[in-house]
Amino acid sequence: MNRRGFATTALISLLALAGLAVGGRYWSVAHVARWTGRQDLGFVNCTYCHGQRLEKLPWTQPRPRHPSPAALAVSSDGKRIYIALDDLDEVVEADTTTRQILRRLPLAGRPFGLALDAHSERLFVACRDADEVVAVDRREWRVVERIGVGSAPVALAFCRTKAGDRLIVANSISDDASVLALSPLRELSRPQTGREPYSVGVAGDGSVAFVANRLAVPQHYLALPESELTLIDPVRGRVLQRTPMLSAHLSEGVATVPGRQWALAPVIKVRNLVPITQVANGWVMSCGLVISDQQGNVLQMPLDEANDYFADPSGIVVDPSGTRAYVASGGSDVVSVLDLERMAEWLYRADEAAKAAAVDDLTLSAEYVLARIPTGRNPRHVALSPDGRTLYVSERLDDSVLLVDTGTLRAAGRIILGPGGLDDPIRRGERVFTKAAHTFQRQFSCRSCHPDGHVDGLSYDFDGDGIGDNMLDNRSLLGLAGTAPFKWIGKNPTLEVQCGPRFARVLMRTSPIPPADLKDLSTFLQAQPPPRWERRRGKPLTPAQERGRKIFFASVTSEGKVIPRERRCHTCHRPPLFTNRLPSNIGTRGPRDSTSMFDTPHLLGIAHSAPYLHDGRAKTLEELWTLYQTNDLHGVSSYMNKHQLNDLVEYLKTL
């Protein structure tokens, strides 16, 4: 081919390619407009709708497992300690003197909570994913009984009552507590608790059980949030009292105090209704201790200090004399030692006004905090030897249990369960996620608002876009891989952008998380599956759910009218992630919102992430259509009767 021929061919090829590109672009814009029914989108990358496969997502891939210690239980002779390793599906027995593991018991279903009976003959284990409690014979070291309870049991407590021995079990997903009789195990009742019951403590005489709940019950998004302390009669299995803990939530521990009629529950004092204009002085949140008497009268005391904070209080234990309490702060890697006698003295002196204002006074904890003991990464559960001389602390992200001499308040050794998993980026990312040191004065961690990567159920007012504007619901981080962009307005293309300098500026008020840590954090977040995904996957639908599925994918109403494509559920909430990752106007713009276009959230695990809509105004899935539907903009639902709506909700709960 001569030079002219070559040039002509090249020119024609280029023109053809350009024509193809321009034509392709026109075709794709028309394609998007046709299949979404929207003319405003313009060109959209193919991957928004095509090529999404759950099997490719990080959270469906196998991941390394770690011997992360959860609950601890010490035998009545103090010689043995039992450690739940939920990630390995094991419970182990260790010698408290030699600190060596003696026996391992495989136990499927993520064993998380532990309790021993009065003579330490039986060990009871709450298996979080199996929805059951198993009884292990200590001598034979085998499972001798098992019983089904509510969904996701995470904690249990043994008590003796005049009517016999009891186990009280906190079922974190079904929002109830199982009251079990022993020998044989049988469920006496399953009373409703608050939202996400997470720990149980029982009075020494077995007269009352205290169940602390992690999340506030959804109410109006501008109302004062309240989580619940549920008081249960262990004999009859009935609720005695439902005590609201005002502006307090994420309670992960509760302990009763011998000699006093107190139950103590560490909480996060959240201030979500106040604009986040600053972090100093606990403006976003601080940590406190709820003190309840046996009638459910509560008051709150601070755990933090004026210029230092002890984030994510979790486990609590009180010594046998009732004079000291030990509180593990998972975000700060610290155990705080509280002098309960000094606290009681202060309460005796204080008038009602001082008691009511106590939890907001950051200088008060100096009255009764004896020491802050440094620990390994993410201390969560605590236990004491029967004589109160040794404190055991589960260092969850170090794979170890710390022993503390309570006389000297110094570390006395460790039970090593594993190497710590630092070669695993998911584990490293979880360390970043739980580390409060990235925030000004260590006030909170990512986990403080996203317990276990999920939601705290509250809405917040960030000041970056104006005080009082753009109130935003806290979204779940579970199952978010593949759902970029992030943020309710879909502004951030990656998790690194979402959690990087922008986050440091609006929330942490410190230097941004270093890039290597940010990468690990992103890896960790993308490895988190939607709640209970494996249990729902492939499960056949009930007739109601099947009817709901048909409504979800319907293109015509039951009256035969065609539903415009842009208002069909599955157009925006497109499987398999149930989002097309594009912003939409569903008519929910509030008077202080700066936009009408909000990111389309994925629906995987949506049953567990109330409240709903960008500002959290809908307390339930039903309210999306009964209270907040606006001219059929958020899907066409005006034709549905209540049964159809219920069916639709039933189907959504299977996602």
Binding site: S247, L273, A280, A306, D361, F440, D463, P501, R505, R509
Partner: protein, 494 residues
């Protein structure tokens, strides 16, 4: 090439070694390799014993560091013979601070009698110090923030009338190679900054006074490294007439020197950061009568300078550096004494870098906002001072009070206003008759784009807000602008 092969080989090896050495040196220089001071080294300001400043001293620093004063680095085991002069070639120097890790030391220095005090930088490894500031009126009291920026106070005031005069030093920040940026805009001087481990800048300033001519009591205040969130940190109604040299100490304490205005004795005191307004105590229970410096010491201890009295000696010797293993509880021991000098200031080089801070300012905006949750919430309790009906904002213009405007107080006591940035302002709560209920004389400021919040007026310190949605944020903030008229000060409860 001539000569035997062995010689040629040796020559080649020598030139290779020389080339390697030169390359290494070039690499080291290029990568900014800097020698650090040995761990736990002391940075000491030494003043010639009995030196008197020229009468009258031109500035506060001429009085504090007379001619001949110098800054030295003393590595462990703290022998006078090991002291290395860092302020070589300067007429006088003092007030030194090292960057974390100890590669560089900043101090105030004066090149000659006719020049102004400026901040100098010296390498810990030695060499002549270089000036890093060149600001009119001079600069003093260097501190270093987490990002390596230099913070200092400027101008250097005259020795008398600092707190009553109009020559009011402010704090400035200067990035390496950058220009100074003003951080404080209050009506009172801002002096002696130091960086806390949480990243804030702690400094000394005067509390506002209600009556004209009244001398202020001094307190400790904090700002973020960008000048936002000006906050009272410690010393409130118990503020001393003179407060100097605040420094964060180990074990969650802040130490400082306190004394009377008239040049009397300065005593070392501490406060606990856990309850800074209610934990003031002497550093040493039976302490020396006069202390000239306090700072963090080696191995979690505290170093303080005072005149050493040798056992059996009838008279005090020179000012020396003492070590307390723990503030308030242990007996001090002599750490370093150079008998030829008064060692008036000392601190060990810190290894821990303070926490960084990302600015929330919007430099393109000319205003900032103030949201108060409840103007009726005071130290006396909610509503004890009367029910505020509106808020009046006053500012200072050439020493004259001017009203910027008024804004309504909502039923829950909240108000929200938008104000010009970087301008001193004060607040007055008024009842429905226009009578002043509470008054805060002009002493605050907001930075561009800053959203400031408070829980009340004269509210108790170290309080967290109640979790409630203030009514004032239902509407945009009330915008107040300059151009209002001057007003006379009204009497009101302090």
């Amino acid at each position: 090439m001539t000569g035997p092969p062995v010689q040629r080989g040796a020559r080649r090896r020598s030139s290779q070694a020389l080339l390697t050495l030169a390359g290494t040196m070039m690499l080291a220089a290029g990568s900014g390799c800097q020698k650090t001071a040995p761990p736990d080294s002391l940075i000491v300001t030494q003043v010639p014993p009995g030196a008197q400043p020229a009468r009258p001293a031109a500035t506060l620093l001429d009085q504090r560091y007379p001619a001949g004063s110098r800054v030295v680095l003393v590595p462990p085991p703290y022998q006078a013979k090991d002291a290395r002069v860092l302020s070589q070639g300067l007429l006088a120097a003092g007030g030194a601070v090292a960057v974390p890790g100890g590669t560089r030391v900043y101090f105030a220095g004066k090149a000659d009698a006719g020049s102004a005090w400026q901040i100098y930088q010296a390498r810990a490894s030695g060499g002549r110090p270089q000036p890093v500031t060149s600001v009119p009126g001079g600069a003093m009291d260097p501190a270093v923030t987490a990002d390596g920026s230099l913070v200092f106070s400027s101008p250097v005031p005259k020795p008398d009338g600092l707190w009553s005069g109009s020559n009011s030093p402010a704090l400035f920040a200067q990035s390496p190679g950058g220009s100074p940026r003003q951080l404080t805009f209050g009506a009172r001087p801002a002096l002696e900054p130091t960086t806390l481990t949480d990243g804030r800048i702690l400094f000394v300033s005067g509390r506002p006074v209600s009556a004209a001519g009244q001398l202020p009591r001094l307190g400790l205040f904090t700002i973020n490294p960008d000048g936002t969130e000006f906050t009272s940190f410690a010393l409130d109604r118990d503020g001393a007439p003179l407060v100097r040299r605040p420094r964060e100490l180990p074990s969650g304490r802040v130490g400082f020197l306190a004394g009377p205005h008239d040049g009397g004795l300065l005593v070392a005191e501490t406060i606990r950061m856990a309850r800074p307004f209610a934990s003031r105590a002497p550093l040493i229970s039976e302490g020396p009568p006069q202390c000239t410096s306090i700072g963090p010491g080696p191995e979690g201890g505290v170093v303080a300078c005072w005149k050493a009295v040798k056992p059996g000696a009838s008279e005090a010797g020179s000012v020396a550096v003492h070590l307390l293993a723990q503030a308030g509880t242990s007996k001090p021991s002599l750490l370093f004494d150079d008998p030829a000098w008064d060692d008036t200031e000392a601190a060990t080089i810190q290894t821990q870098r303070p926490m960084g801070h990302i600015s929330s300012m919007n430099p393109g905006k000319g205003s900032g906002s103030i949201l108060c949750l409840n103007a009726g919430f005071t130290r006396s309790g909610a509503g004890q001072e009367g029910k505020p009906d509106r808020i009046r904002v006053v500012t200072l213009k050439r020493g004259e009070r001017r009203v910027l405007g008024e804004a309504p107080v909502e039923a829950d006591g909240s108000f929200m206003i938008e104000l010009p940035a970087d301008q001193t302002f004060g607040l007055e709560t008024l009842d429905s008759q226009g009578e002043v209920l509470q008054q805060l004389p002009p002493s605050l400021w907001v930075r561009p784009g800053e959203n400031r919040t408070c829980i009340g007026c004269h509210e108790p310190s170290n309080r967290s807000p109640r979790n409630q949605r203030p009514l004032a944020i239902a509407q945009p903030p009330v915008r107040l602008r300059e151009g209002s008229q001057a007003v006379a000060q009204q009497n009101c409860p302090p």
